[in-house]
Symmetry: C5
Subunit: 88 residues, 5 copies
């Protein structure tokens, strides 16, 4: 799993049936100081996240499908929670 910051959401058309009705967010990984690293990617939001939130993202297909209760879904990254604090 990764800590990510929500950068925005995307609007897409001509999507396959498997992607109808999903809220798609652009997220970027952040390190333990909240600094961004790596490149942005797209995750389905299951945690009512907003732009600027630091979130917990699951990036494995089988897990993502389980979170969404769509075993047949074509999703490989899901926002499962909002991170409040990091204790070192």
């Amino acid at each position: 799993m990764k800590m990510c910051k929500v950068l925005g959401n995307i609007v897409a058309t001509i999507k396959t049936k498997s992607h109808h009705g999903l809220k798609l967010m652009v997220v970027q990984s952040v390190d333990e100081r909240g600094e961004p690293y790596s490149d942005p990617f797209i995750a389905v939001d299951c945690a009512q996240a907003g732009v600027g939130d630091i979130v917990l993202v699951v990036e494995e297909g089988g897990s993502a499908r389980e979170v969404m209760k769509r075993p047949e879904g074509a999703v490989d990254a899901v926002i499962v929670g909002i991170i409040d604090d990091l204790n070192k």
Copy 2:
């Protein structure tokens, strides 16, 4: 999932049966400003994408097979939609 730009399509021969009839596109990831990053890879087109389009790509095998309705298919990346807009 990733936001990618379509760079072109490839022509291949001597393909295994699992890859007959697929439209194979060369895509490259782009960031939230549409700038390319990372290296190009190959995705099956399920969204009637054209060269230059910004597309949504699923990169996990189980999900890709589900999108294509080919549980036995040997595909690990699929274009599932065309991205119209990014709201920040």
Copy 3:
């Protein structure tokens, strides 16, 4: 699998049901000399690890679910042991 150092633990809310009750740690990969490399990520702790420990992390979803005895769980990284020594 990877050798990682435990950096801290996170507190998150609005988690999906699949993540209730899990102890989530921030870990960073280390090389054979214990030097950190790569970026930090989040793993579920199944080995009573503490901050500063060098741990063994499984990073594949199917394996992670098996370790946790949650076949339906949405977890893609698990701390399975604490590394005591490296023989070269």
Copy 4:
């Protein structure tokens, strides 16, 4: 999937039963201009590829096993075709 150039083939011994009789090639990813990038890896050849060929490689385990008709096989990368041309 990736476009790769075939660099050579390897000879290995003491292999597990799952790897008996496989033709193992060293391949390296190339970009849309045929320029190599990333580091070389090993793929099973299912397309009668030769050294110097530009090939199509599937890199996901479930897909690789399907191509090879070995559901129980321990293979995570397979050459499935030879790329003749790239249209931009």
Copy 5:
């Protein structure tokens, strides 16, 4: 799959039951000239490999579990052979 050099082996405690009795090696990827690249990681040894050997490593969970004949095992990287030669 990857060509890797064996750097050493690790000793770990408080491991989950799924990791009891496994021989865990620190390996690092090498290119076609035997030069190391990328960062070291941990693989289970199924090929009686020794420190300094160049080995063939499977890195996908489903494949790794099959090699080990532990469908329920939590392993994502396995040494399946020792590489003797590379023909270019």
